[in-house]
């Protein structure tokens, strides 16, 4: 992501500062059928390093990835642990399929921690090489616990069988430089840099609660360390709290069978078929290889789902300015763009020769990955900034500062609306005219986060805390702030307008970690195609899809190759929700799982979903353990369910008037906009409540959203401490 080669003098300077604080040796035994068979525990408080076994029961129950992460974290924290408590951990795992090279999207890591934004457990998935190379280095997961006394690097040498905690006073903090430094430091020759991967967070993560983790992957042709982000929930903030500059893994010797699968042929056949499908279908479907996820911006604007001006609207006449063609000219297409080997969907676009106009690197020419749709929609459309360069520059700085672009974009949009509504003024915003569309002000707030000063220090706390501050210190109406502040559970919304899709309101509101689209994306199925009209249908979709999507996180897989390209006959062989499941691809994943693990008991997609049900319910109970995980925490801001203001109502007056008369049974004739808006709100809030009831029932939860004892038993996770958590909370509701 950077551009500067690290000089020999700089390397010598870095090395001169190093002191090995702890060293641990182990015998790398190689991966067997997708599992290394042990996890790595590192405590940076007392410099303890140890391995922990992965037994068959752990594999059967929690499978890997997010499942392993949650189980390890569950055992590390108590219900009183806060994000900045020493016992909080960052746990990272790939999963059994993670690291195969033959199928697209097989290099994901999942990071889990107690979140500074939500105060409960959060999971975030990310590309880059760390998770797979960690496994090939000998570990199915890494737990990092404690808070170091001085700045450290944790280094895993998977070839030498050595783990070190190294005092690292001289290394950079900002990730675009740090990742280059790690590649240069730990590769014994330039050709080895692809074998070195780091996890880091920048200076912004030190001053904000929305810090992200940057996972690196070295691009050998462009000779640059590129970065992918575990963005959600502030895990980068936790990393910097621990005074960890970087987690680094080196593993030289990756091959197509490093995962030692049971059935290489099955994996090769499935992978080659999928590569061919992408070759044939991607150019006539979503053009991921050309545009990355930003191809969505046009679609979302066309369907009135693109968040504009803090989710007030779903489209804008100027949106075209941030469509893909305006980014293509920045992209370099000279090399493959997969963020793991063999990902031919290749959505990680590479913007080159970006000349920075602001901030500490002003005037420098840099490169940046992305921007993803979420970044374009959040920082661009949602803030009314229709300037690709401003989006790219914000993307670069968010990444290197270690700031989640989604939380930043959504928080900025909220602050801009508060400014335009007169709830805050220039005295609060450090003199910045924070109107929608002010790209320079947006960038300045970002730099303030980097410096930990001014309004940036407030915005970096996220919307939930901004709401409290604006109400307590500046007299803003807390009810209005609740309505327009697009957060739930403390996490900022990702970038889709859900007002017209009840199912997706639930998709966001019920998501375990907070409103992120990786659990469910049902807007087309629900609002556009009307394929899940009843509460029962929606509840079924809100059971199946969150469970199915959870499965990717157990495996080390990316969700995109599942449904961002489809077999040619998918929509003719199947219809409705069945087509949305993409059955052929589900079967591909059955083949991959069996091919890697050799588990012949797994035969259908249902068997895969069953794995997720276990982990998903476990995470729900984990929320309960941390003091959340009940119905009151599944509430959503009204803006995600309907128009908060008259101006929003009027922007879709025809649609809303029709709903009043056809669904609510009220004749809108003669009613004022405010009256109509209030009537619609009563109806929509009632609908959301009914939806929640239906989903809880489908998931085997009680009316308060707690998994019943029967559900826990049926899933085989009725461990004594888990049962105690469920019983305590079930009984406390009387």
């Amino acid at each position: 992501m950077g551009s500067a080669e690290i000089s020999k003098e700089r390397i010598a300077e870095l090395e001169a500062g190093h002191r090995v604080l702890a060293e641990f040796s182990y015998e790398p035994e190689g991966v067997k059928k997708g599992y290394a068979g042990q996890t790595l525990y590192v405590n940076v408080s007392d410099n303890a390093i140890a391995t922990r076994p992965v037994d068959e029961k752990m594999k059967k129950t929690f499978v890997g990835g997010r499942g392993f992460d949650l189980w390890l974290l569950w055992n590390a924290v108590t219900g009183n642990t806060k994000w900045d408590s020493p016992e909080n951990e960052i746990v990272i795992s790939a999963g059994p399929i993670g690291g195969i090279t033959q199928y697209p999207g097989t290099g994901k890591s999942i990071a889990v921690s107690i979140s500074p934004l939500t105060n409960t457990v959060v999971d975030s998935n990310v590309g880059g090489y760390f998770g797979p190379l960690l496994k090939f280095a000998g570990f199915d997961a890494i737990e990092v616990q404690g808070i170091a006394e001085e700045e450290v690097i944790v280094f895993v040498d998977g070839n030498a069988g050595k783990v070190q905690i190294i005092a690292a006073p001289e290394e950079s903090v900002n990730s675009h430089i740090l990742a280059e430094e790690m590649a240069a430091l730990f590769a014994s020759k330039p050709g080895e840099r692809q074998a070195v991967t780091s996890v880091s967070a920048g200076v912004g993560a030190e001053h904000a609660l929305m810090g992200c983790l940057n996972f690196s992957f070295y691009d050998p042709r462009r000779q640059v360390a590129r970065l992918k982000q575990a963005g959600r929930g502030g895990i980068g903030t936790v990393l910097r709290k621990k005074k960890v500059k970087a987690l680094v893994v080196k593993y030289v010797g990756l091959k197509g069978d490093s995962n030692t699968p049971q059935d290489l042929k099955g994996i090769q056949d499935t992978g080659a078929k999928m590569h061919r499908e992408i070759y044939e279908r991607d150019p006539i479907m979503f053009e991921m290889r050309k545009d990355g996820t930003n191809h969505l911006t046009k679609i979302m604007n066309d369907y009135d789902i693109l968040p504009v001006h803090n989710f007030r609207y779903g489209a804008h006449p100027e949106a075209e300015k941030i469509y893909s063609p305006n980014f293509q000219k920045h992209f370099d297409y000279s090399s493959p763009d997969g963020c793991w080997y063999g990902c031919t969907l290749a959505c990680a676009k590479f913007a080159k020769e970006l000349e920075l106009c602001s901030g500490p690197y002003k005037g420098q020419t840099v490169t940046v990955d992305g921007p993803e749709y979420e970044t374009v929609a959040g920082i661009g459309a949602n803030c009314g900034i229709w300037d690709p360069h401003a989006v790219l520059e914000a993307n670069f700085y968010c990444d290197t500062y270690g700031i989640d672009t989604i939380s930043f974009g959504t928080s900025m949009a909220f602050a801009m609306e508060c400014f335009e509504e007169g709830l805050i003024n220039t005295e609060v915003t450090s003199g910045l005219e924070l109107n929608f569309g002010n790209g320079d002000a947006m960038l300045e707030v970002l730099h303030q986060i980097g410096r930990g000063e001014g309004f940036g220090a407030i915005l970096g706390q996220g919307i939930r805390r901004m709401k409290a501050i604006f109400a307590a210190d500046y007299g803003a109406d807390p009810k209005f702030l609740q309505d327009i502040g697009m957060e739930a559970k403390g996490l900022e919304y990702s970038e889709y307008v859900t007002k017209e899709s009840l199912a997706q309101q639930g998709g966001y509101g019920l998501a375990n970690k907070g409103p992120q689209h990786d659990e469910a994306w049902l807007i087309f199925m629900d609002a556009v195609n009307n394929q899940i009209p009843t509460f029962e249908d929606k509840a079924e979709a809100l059971h199946y899809f969150p469970m199915w999507r959870t499965w990717f996180g157990l495996m080390g897989l990316c969700k995109l190759p599942w449904n961002d390209v489809e077999p040619a006959d998918n929509r003719t062989s199947y219809s409705g929700m069945d087509a949305a499941k993409v059955p052929e691809h589900v079967q591909n994943y059955v083949e991959l799982f069996r091919g890697v693990t050799g588990r012949d008991d797994i035969k259908t997609g249902k068997d895969l979903v069953r794995m997720s049900e276990v982990v998903y319910n476990f995470q729900r109970v984990f929320n309960l353990k941390m003091g959340f995980g009940t119905r009151e925490h599944d509430v959503i801001p009204y803006r995600s369910a309907g128009p908060v203001t008259d101006i929003e109502y009027e922007s879709r007056a025809e649609r809303y008037d029709q709903q009043l008369s056809e669904l609510v049974g009220i004749d809108p004739e003669g009613m004022s906009t405010t009256e109509k808006r209030k009537a619609l709100r009563r109806y929509r809030e009632e609908q959301y409540d009914k939806l929640i009831d239906a989903v809880y029932e489908r998931r085997g939860w009680d009316a308060n959203g707690i998994p019943t004892l029967g559900t826990i038993q049926e899933l085989g996770i009725d461990f004594p401490d888990l049962v105690e958590v469920v019983n305590t909370h079930t009984n406390s509701q009387g």
């Binding site: 090279t101 197509g256 992978g271 590569h275």
Partner: protein, 130 residues
């Protein structure tokens, strides 16, 4: 650019080219390891499929293991290959192959041994302008 050129009309389906290819490069008589493939089309007609050295595979290789040598032949540096098979899926002529006994794909390097042995002259080595 040194390339194998085939003439399906001359092919008699003796499979000698496949024998020679797999025997030469994998020390095994196994048509699944050959980088030239002969398929029956029925009616004593045969389809011949072999790499035309177009080089599209070079562009999708994530490690740079595929490269064009001085003679214009696209070659695979096996030590650098991670067996992802992107090249297999993205081969325009479907002539990059793989086999479960090997993680790396099977790639024609226009060695010409098959052409030397072909009894009908259905295969020949030609040097084409790039």
């Amino acid at each position: 650019m040194k390339v194998l050129v085939t003439n399906d009309e001359l092919c008699i389906g003796c499979h000698l080219c496949e024998d020679i290819c797999s025997q030469t490069w994998y020390k095994e008589m196994n048509h699944g390891l050959s980088s030239i493939r002969i398929t029956s089309l029925g009616n004593a007609e045969w389809g011949m499929a072999v790499c035309n050295q177009c080089g599209n595979c070079i562009d999708v290789c994530p490690t740079g293991a595929l490269y064009r040598d001085k003679a214009g032949v696209v070659r695979l540096k096996k030590a650098d290959c991670v067996g992802c098979l992107s090249c297999v899926g993205f081969c325009p002529t479907l002539t990059m192959y793989y086999h479960e006994d090997y993680v790396e794909p099977i790639k024609c390097i226009s060695c010409g041994l098959c052409a030397n042995e072909c009894p009908t002259g259905a295969i020949s080595i030609e040097v084409l302008a790039e």
